[in-house]
């Protein structure tokens, strides 16, 4: 008995779909259901109420907004830096490019927490960054806002995300061949015009993957803001964690999580649209 190609293809996907269903779709669906439940006498009780969402919009909108802005800043800086480094590796540095790539990837060996603590040590009042600036005579006393501030969160997460953003962009740039770049130059384009008109549009997909990664992971992070963000930098992840763990209010935590998810989705769709608009040729027909 032979199977139809479509069925065969479907069967081949079964393991992946099973894992996706059991460990992602089902828990997410459960969490979505929970957002409509409530807590009665410290117990999770099935219900259908929108009050969790109402509370989220009342109490946490500012945290969500702040989180989106900071994640957006991190994603933009990371994507731009990753593109610059990938561009150097691909087009400018020859063999030296491999060394740059290796040193960027080597930072992956240091774990997430190691990087956070490293930046904590470097950004503090007695940290190497401040000491360097003082010794160079650029500042007279340590910059206090380097650590325990949104800036520290941005610096730490940009550094953490950089290799993850670098790899897809580099893969995208490897697909850009040299001849069209020479052709553009031959037609009179300056280097920045070649980058804008020929290089960037051809790695649109990889730029978007890099941007998405560098946006989503910081948007959901709650460890970095706690360790280097200081007492006033709370991101939405901190509140979600607090709702689930500290206040045992799973419905509200879930509602906040889903609201964040939706907001991130909107940001990404918008980013995708803007990127497409910016990189689509607008001359000729």
């Amino acid at each position: 008995m032979s199977l139809s190609p479509a069925l065969r293809r479907g069967l081949g996907l079964t393991p992946a779909l099973t894992i996706f269903g059991l460990f992602f779709a089902l828990p997410m669906a459960y969490l979505l259901v929970v957002t409509f439940w409530r807590i009665k006498r410290y117990r999770l009780t099935p219900d259908f109420t929108l009050s969790n969402y109402a509370d989220v919009f009342g109490d946490y909108l500012h945290a969500l907004g702040f989180t989106l802005v900071i994640a957006l800043v991190i994603a933009l800086i990371t994507t731009a830096l990753a593109f610059a480094i990938a561009y150097l590796i691909r087009f400018r540095s020859g063999l030296f490019g491999q060394i740059i790539l290796l040193s960027a990837l080597a930072t992956l060996f240091g774990g997430y927490l190691v990087k956070i603590y490293a930046w904590k040590a470097m950004l503090g009042a007695q940290g190497s960054v401040n000491l360097l600036l003082i010794n160079l005579g650029l500042i007279d006393e340590p910059i206090s806002w380097l650590l325990y501030s949104p800036a520290a969160v941005v610096i730490t997460l940009v550094h953490f995300m950089l290799p993850f953003a670098l790899l897809p962009i580099l893969a995208g740039l490897r697909g850009v061949s040299e001849a069209p770049l020479e052709a553009a130059r031959d037609l009179g384009a300056k280097p920045w015009q070649i980058t804008r008109d020929i290089v960037l549009p051809q790695c649109r997909g990889s730029l978007f993957s890099a941007f998405s990664l560098a946006f989503l992971i910081p948007a959901g992070d709650y460890v970095t803001p706690r360790l280097v963000g200081g007492p006033e930098t709370f991101m939405v992840g901190n509140f979600i964690e607090n709702l689930f763990v500290g206040r045992m209010n799973a419905p509200m935590g879930a509602a906040l999580a889903f609201t964040t998810l939706l907001a991130c989705g909107i940001v990404l769709v918008t980013a995708h649209w803007l990127l497409g608009r910016a990189l689509t040729p607008k001359w000729g027909r």
Binding site: E182, A183, L187, P201, P281, R285
Partner: protein
Amino acid sequence: MSDPLLRLRNISKNYRETQAVHPLDLDVERGDFVALLGPSGCGKTTLLRMIGGFLPPSTGTIEIGGQDVTALGPEKRNTNMVFQGYGLFPHMTVAQNIGYGPKIAGRDPEQIDLDVVRMLNLVHLGAVADRLPAALSGGQQQRVALARALVMRPSILLLDEPLAALDLKLRKAMQDELKSLHRAIGGTFIFVTHDQGEAIDLANRIVVMEAGRIVQQGTPEDVYRRPASRFVASFIGDANMLSAVRKGGEVEIGSGRLPSPGPDGPVLVVIRPDDIALAGDGPLTLAGTVTESRFMGPYLRLVVTLADGTAVTVHRPSGAEGAAPPPMGSTATLGLPAAACSVVAP
């Protein structure tokens, strides 16, 4: 005489130990269709890329229209290149590919549209203006590359192996199209090729290169009929090369002598298979035995082996004389017209 449009003086290129192009001079006149012809690795593409500004020469100067452009990059030269493999912008439509140069040059949008339409008509691509390059055939991509370069109205159009990627039939068609384009716009074209047939068909001047040097330049007929060296003779077309000796300004060959000024010593007499007559009665004849006779369509290919063992190839039109080919093993007397013989160093 007017000044040449392109003037290369003492141009060379070396990469560390390898000398890709030895110092050379080259002039190209306005309206010329020049072929840089040679085997791969002879430096022809390097030379073309130096003319286009993609490679700085190691020595020498390049002048275009009397202006020294040696230090200028391709973006500042009034030359445009059709790249090997075309180098089309994959994310732009055909019209956008063609319009990119005018847009960068800051022509106004209406003018760009007019230019693009004019070019689309010139290369017969109006019907596919909105397609992406990936949706085009090789010949169509080639024409987009041509249009994209020509829309810039270059004073010299450079073509790097323009037809190499096309299949034989398409190549012939594109050769005709290139020729009529050249006639229509009256520009100056320089192209690189390793295909001698293509060079002879397209160019009005052929520059033959070997190992980084120009070994001969002239009209296709010059280069074919009067090869300057053994290399040129063997690279372009089929050639018989007969060993001979020069003594006192004459070369003895077969039954006669060929006047040939030069030092005494061994030489090669070059003669094309289609220049040899079968029934020889002139002053220069060679006697031999027919050892091969083959029908090749438009011509007969005969091999006549001489007494000393030298095999001479003769091409005769297959239809014209109506005579049957001489049978294998028969004796033949070959007539060599003196004017068709070139004497080169062995």
